[in-house]
């Protein structure tokens, strides 16, 4: 019964979305305030209905209702509760329901917190947002209905893919979707602005928090996925340039570009049409990502149950929204006249360079991702594009970006002077080159990657420190420290996010350059040495888990005679899903991880054991978290709240919006 109610709620939500798509749009065109006012309650009701629908599906999973096809295919009574819940979105249909839930949530947020928007803009934003919802409700109801029953319910389910039964991956998809779908807000704002025919500083200020929020979620989501891959896949890889990873990475790159160009719109009223285009493209790449994951046109490690019919539908959504948006853009963009005038050496120019590099980097990732498809269809060449290509083609962009970052971040608006901006930075430059040289001398031979990574990381972090410090003006140290605390959230956010980027880059460079590995057969009780650590295989036991059986090793890590850690690498077999997984034993450290993997029992006695020393591994994800924190600081900036205060006052004055 509850399942049917959920299904019904979903259909109702679709109908509400259709109303929300049409009525406010007509109202905004005709300036009928009554019609425009439909948007807000509709957005709220739509969100409540989808939430009810999602709750019904969750209920079915939690209670293991095996009369539901989706639950049979993706759940099992023996599965821990956390994974019963995460199983809701661990499959195609459920994840699409989560997708529309988040879409409706963002729409509702725009209705709740959008009081400072002009009524026509708000009505149009909500209508465009609803049109995206309508497309995806149609997709779910027509091709991927999660509420289908089975004729004769089985006694138990087929279990969730064991790889997905992990806390890191339980929360990875929701964060990614919050990011993907968050970009739909930027898209809706862009389309609404094109319909209005007006982009001004206020628009830049409104669109930025949404983009920032989406970018934060994408950063955290990608970081979580990468961290999961690191500890779960059994050899500590953290990024594979897999098509589906790229699908999340391209929107991240474009969202990062959009964040920066929206600043130019807000502060200087320039780059308007480019910012609109970026907002359209960023969401377009989210849709492309959805298409890549669900259609199966490109083989990837993220095997979603996919079929061509769904692919065609998503392709149609993509074509309609991107085609429509770009046509509208072509017709209206020329009306977006830039106002700000700036010199060649200026913050504006630096941000243009930032956008060029980020957008072209995203383009490179895109071409590499779809090239196998293009080559096969157009030239009959069956080939692969893998990590070695992306490493070679993508890395230079990141190097260029971080090389110009500290200078660009400190250049003044309108007109700058490289010499003057560099003055406080020469010391940092010297320091970073010294640090890089030190690394180069210390490592005998080896790749240039580590020294370059070290130079750039020091350069960026030092640059951020100098930037913050110079912002405090003149005077004695104590008053400057006091002023440092009072700097706007945006300044702190900028410095923090850039620092996070530098930390991640350093982690990637350090791990890639200095990782070491040992593969051997170890007898129980044997101790062997690797890279200054002693590893002892103490015992190997068979341990039953809730829905798996585990081969658990007990291994001690020594530094000389001192015991550093006792780790339990595991090899699990999930009988229902017929799948093995590895659980590495990891001793996390600030400077290095000791990463142990237990393999098969050998015919001649002993066990295959792999030992990795992974320097600076945790810096990669720490950097992601710090980047996200920077975004949060920036979101907390006072200038985004001023308007909120104004709204409260307006409400107190009588609750009637202006106009």
């Amino acid at each position: 019964m509850i399942v049917e109610l959920g299904h019904f709620a979903l259909v109702l939500a679709a109908l509400v979305a259709i109303v929300q798509m049409i009525v406010p749009l007509v109202g905004a065109n005709r300036r009928w305030s009554g019609w425009m006012a439909v948007a807000e309650p509709a957005a709220t009701v739509q969100f409540l209905l989808v939430a009810a629908s999602f709750a019904a599906l969750t209920y079915a999973f939690v209670t293991s209702d095996f009369s539901l096809r989706l639950v049979v295919l993706n759940s099992h009574t023996a599965k821990p509760m956390l994974y019963k819940v995460s199983g809701v979105w661990g499959n195609h249909e459920g994840s699409m329901l989560l997708w529309v839930l988040i879409l409706a949530l963002f729409g509702a947020c725009a209705a709740w917190f959008g009081g400072n928007l002009t009524p026509t803009l708000r009505a149009r934003v909500l209508a465009v947002q609803a049109s995206i919802s309508v497309a995806f409700y149609g997709f779910i109801l027509l091709t991927s209905n999660p509420f289908l029953r089975v004729g004769s319910p089985p006694l138990n389910g087929e279990d969730l893919n064991p790889l997905l039964q992990d806390p890191g991956l339980a929360f990875h998809p929701p964060f990614l979707y919050l990011g993907y779908v968050g970009l739909s807000m930027a898209f809706s704002f862009a389309i609404a602005a094109l319909l209005e025919g007006k982009v001004d500083a206020a628009w830049g200020r409104w669109v930025r928090p949404w983009t920032l929020a989406a970018w934060i979620f994408l950063t955290v989501g990608i970081g979580l996925g990468s961290w999961w891959a690191y500890y779960e896949l059994g050899w500590g890889g953290f990024w594979f340039w897999d098509p589906v990873e790229n699908a999340s990475f391209m929107p991240w790159l474009l969202a990062a570009a959009l964040l920066h160009s929206a600043i130019v719109v807000e502060k200087r009223e320039a780059l308007k049409s480019w910012t609109i285009l970026l907002a359209i493209m960023a969401f377009g790449f989210s849709l492309i990502g959805t298409f890549l994951v669900r259609s199966g046109v490109i083989t990837s490690v993220h095997a979603f149950a996919n079929d061509p019919e769904r692919g065609v539908y998503i392709l149609a959504i993509l074509a309609v929204f991107m085609g429509g948006a770009l046509t509208l853009f072509a017709a209206r963009a020329s009306a977006m006249e830039a106002k700000g005038v700036f010199a060649i050496v200026s913050r504006e120019s630096a941000l243009v360079a930032n956008n060029v590099l980020l957008a072209v980097a995203a383009f490179v990732v895109f071409v590499g991702t779809i090239w196998p498809l293009v080559a096969e269809m157009s030239f009959g060449r069956k080939l692969s594009v893998g990590a070695p290509f992306f490493d070679a083609a993508f890395t230079p962009f990141m190097i260029a970006l971080t090389a110009i970052l500290p200078i660009g971040a400190m250049l003044p608006w309108k007109r700058g002077n490289i010499g003057r901006t560099m003055q406080p930075l020469w010391g940092v430059l010297a320091l970073s080159i010294a640090a890089g040289s030190l690394v180069w001398v210390m490592q005998t031979g080896g790749a240039m990657l580590a020294p370059i990574g070290c130079v750039l990381a020091t350069w960026v972090i030092g640059g951020q420190v100098i930037d913050l410090w110079t912002r405090t003006g003149r005077g004695d140290v104590s008053s400057r420290i006091r002023r440092l605390r009072n700097l706007p959230g945006a300044d702190w956010g900028k410095a923090t996010a850039h620092t996070g980027l530098a930390i991640t880059l350093f982690g990637v460079a350090g791990l890639t350059a200095w990782e070491s590995e040992d593969i051997r057969v170890a007898q129980v009780g044997e101790r062997f040495e690797h890279a200054g650590y002693g590893i002892e295989l103490r015992s190997v036991d068979q341990v039953p888990g809730p829905n798996y059986v585990s081969t658990t090793a007990t291994m001690a890590v020594y530094r000389g005679d001192r015991e550093v850690a006792v780790l339990h690498p595991e090899k699990r077999v999930y009988p229902v899903a017929q799948m093995p997984t590895t659980e590495a034993g990891i001793d996390n450290g600030f400077l290095r991880d000791v990463y142990l993997v237990i393999g098969d029992e050998q015919a001649g006695g002993g066990w295959a054991v792999r030992t990795y020393i992974k320097p600076f591994a945790n810096w990669i994800w720490a950097g992601c978290i710090i980047m996200g924190l920077g975004g949060v600081f920036s979101l907390g900036d006072r200038r985004y709240r001023i308007a909120a205060g104004a709204r409260k006052r307006a409400a107190a004055a009588g609750g009637v919006p202006a106009e």
Binding site: T299, V301, I344, A375, L383, S384, G386, A387, P580
Partner: protein, 150 residues
Amino acid sequence: MKRLILALMLLVTPALAVTPNEVLDDPVLEARARELSKGLRCLVCRNENIDESNAELAGDLRVLVRERLVEGDSDEAVMDFVVARYGEYVLLKPMATGTNLILWVAGPAMLLIAGAVGAGYVRRRRNAPAETEVGLSAEEEARLKDILQD
């Protein structure tokens, strides 16, 4: 129950990526083998190289690469040998020949174009006449005042 568990363990035996018996005694050759393996795709997997893959076929390919290396083949000769057998599909870094040149040139070419467009824009903004700011409407003026008082 114990017997069942044992039976299941036998049923699915996950092999490690590189197993100890595959490793060559000569560390230099082994290092070369590892490097080459990272550029070769596991044909039955989804976007994994043979160095990381647990699949049986990937193991066979790893052994094949090592055999060629032990026989004294150069890195290029080993790759050519594998490509001749399994086709271009096996290479994770696509060859920069023929139509693939488009793939390799796309990034730099786009950078040039985008750079030129960006530079053109910056130039135009510099020379743009300092537009007289369009004044605010009376209503906007009032709202601005309201906000500034906050």
